[in-house]
Subunit: 348 residues, 2 copies
DNA sequence: AGCAATTAGTACGAACATCGAACAAACCTC
DNA sequence: GAGGTTTGTTCGATGTTCGTACTAATTGCT
């Protein structure tokens, strides 16, 4: 409720509407787009023209079949602006390029132990990796997004529990300078949750629990990431599971993160069950996705956690993350192209 | 991303923009509204004309002061459409009328023990109470909203833990028929949280914990109520505080609701502290408002809970609800007028 | 008194995006 | 090859905002 609306606003809105429609169910003719969106065929034609000249949409050869003039199928431009995803893990670096449809066009992941390494040197290595996938994909890059294993504030890293040397480092800014394109940054669990939403088999509302070296979570409500007022929402690892238990660096006591040890699945499942029961009560999500797990551990843990939540009403479904979804790296890259699809005019 | 935008949409948006601007900082001249909204003075004139003929805004006598033509102050119409708030408590009934500014223009609260009473009879009594406040306020009623102590689904009561005879009763529909106006329904804690937001001294992000016969919570994020996918979000009472503790009817074990007993403030504060620590981690709210408390208990409990949360980083503020905010009843009534202000054309 | 300066609100034409309807294009079937 | 059907484009009408010029009403200075 801040900005006035005018002609421009309407055009922007409808441009995004048409592009989103094509992205959702390509290929689609102009006539079908008109039906789905409620716009006139004439208006759709005008909007599609603009999207084509912007390089976001392409028109395929006419498709003959039934009676009447054959439709010209529209689809997202596979050679249009792409997203560059970057990952700074505790023990690896990753980079990938995703095209407008979300397909991975190039990807590299290299092990890289950098707990004690100089952040600037790591950023150099990451930029080099990015250059390699960019060259391989040979697509125009609309922007980049970086996944980090920690809490992210306003475009700067606030806390990386397992990478203490990064405290206060402006990783997004450093990469933007090295790469020459706008670079966002977000929590690894949040981006993995989005990948699960876009490329996995989740409903529009779920909690993604990333159970790795720490425990993080990404919460998706209504198909949107729920970040909370300060961007720190979903800190599942600091739910209190054992009141009066061992103190945690967060200031609480008996936090989940300190009680989960995957060598003891029963104990871990009980702790996760308690934390997730609370999360379900508070957020009202009915699906839990467990991610970041070793394949050998995943299914037993899933079953044990599901048993802990079995009595809840309404019932809660517990699943394991979809390996095809692509994780935080693809989520980061897809975040960029999703932003393009949401506002095709690119902010003017 | 569903509806196409056109002239109509723009007009609606700007109408709401102007009305919201006046509501936020009345009285305000057309020129100031133009400055604040970014619209042209001409456009604002046109929009204000429409709002005045719709009976939502009134023009006061010109205000002389500095040089130049005196401004005609605009304000919300005190005699415009009003909201009817209704409350179905465990041991009382309430009704109130609130004008467009949110001011209470008539209010009645009567004790009424109806755990064993017939719902239809109770609705009759509530409708009668509503008729009385309507007559007293003598304002046109835009709609009604009902506050209930339980979980609300899609416009029907889903569960009222303390009023078992109401399971499955369509209270909103029954009241709409009796009152002759559209009637919404929501959880008591949610509406009390909104009252706190609109008429109290809270920031735009907080958790309101209603500690009465049960324990509920209303979560406000970014100035908006966070309801969750199924409208059940904020069930603080079913956070797990004592894993493996006594079973709860929700299917969990060791739920907060079963462990809080205000006669033992220390124990209650520890349990609340554990649940709220989890809520803070998950939702990232930094302010907790305690409501529904006896004045004698409120401050000691606040202090005890604040002590439990003292170590958290970033810090969390614990306050007691503002008695001037008006609680769920005023929140219900204000919900109606807020809806009018948000979409002044009334949906066409 | 009278006149300039200042601010508020109104009037009018231009720009722009959608809508509706008519039209042209391309294919299928008979 | 004629008729029917569906797709996509063209063109004028409608409606809303914007920019500019104009009128209105008051203060303050000469």
């Amino acid at each position: 409720m801040i900005a006035p609306a005018g002609h421009r606003t309407v055009r922007r809105h409808n441009l995004a509407l048409v592009l989103g429609c094509v992205a959702e169910a390509e290929p689609l003719s102009r006539a079908r787009v008109a039906e789905r969106t409620g716009l006139t065929r004439g208006t759709v034609s005008s909007l599609v023209d603009e999207l084509i000249t912007a390089g976001l949409v392409t028109e395929l050869a006419a498709e003959r079949g039934g009676p009447g003039r054959p439709a010209a199928p529209l689809q997202l431009n596979r050679n249009g602006p792409a997203g560059l995803g970057l990952e700074l893990g505790v023990d690896r670096l990753g980079a990938c390029v995703v095209d407008l449809t979300g397909a991975v066009r190039a990807q590299r992941i290299v092990p890289s132990e950098h707990v004690d390494a100089d952040p600037e040197g790591v950023l150099d290595a990451l930029a080099e990796l990015a250059a390699a996938v960019r060259a391989e994909a040979a697509l125009p890059i609309a922007g980049a997004h970086l996944a980090v294993p920690g809490i992210v504030g306003e475009s700067a890293i606030v806390r990386l529990p397992n990478l203490s040397r990064w405290a206060g480092v402006d990783a997004a800014g450093g990469l933007a300078a090295r790469l020459g394109c706008a670079t966002g940054i977000a929590n690894e669990a949040d981006l993995a949750a989005l990948a699960e939403l876009w490329f996995g088999r989740t409903p529009a509302d779920f909690l993604y629990a990333s159970i790795g070296i720490g425990i993080g979570a990404g919460v998706v409500i209504g198909g949107e990431l729920f970040r909370g007022p300060g961007g720190r929402a979903g800190e599942l690892g600091h739910m209190v599971v054992e009141p009066g238990g061992p103190p945690c660096r967060c200031g609480g006591r008996g936090c989940l993160e300190r009680l989960v040890d995957l060598r003891d699945l029963d104990r871990s499942a009980r702790a996760l069950g308690a934390a997730l029961t609370g999360a379900v009560a508070l957020l009202d999500v009915r699906t839990i996705v467990l991610g970041g797990l070793d394949p050998a551990v995943a299914e037993p843990l899933r079953a044990a956690v599901a048993a802990e939540l079995a009595e809840l009403d309404p019932p809660v479904t517990v699943t394991v993350s979809d390996p095809g979804a692509g994780g935080a790296l693809r989520g980061a890259a897809a975040t960029v192209v999703r932003a393009v699809i949401r506002s095709p005019d690119g902010g003017r």
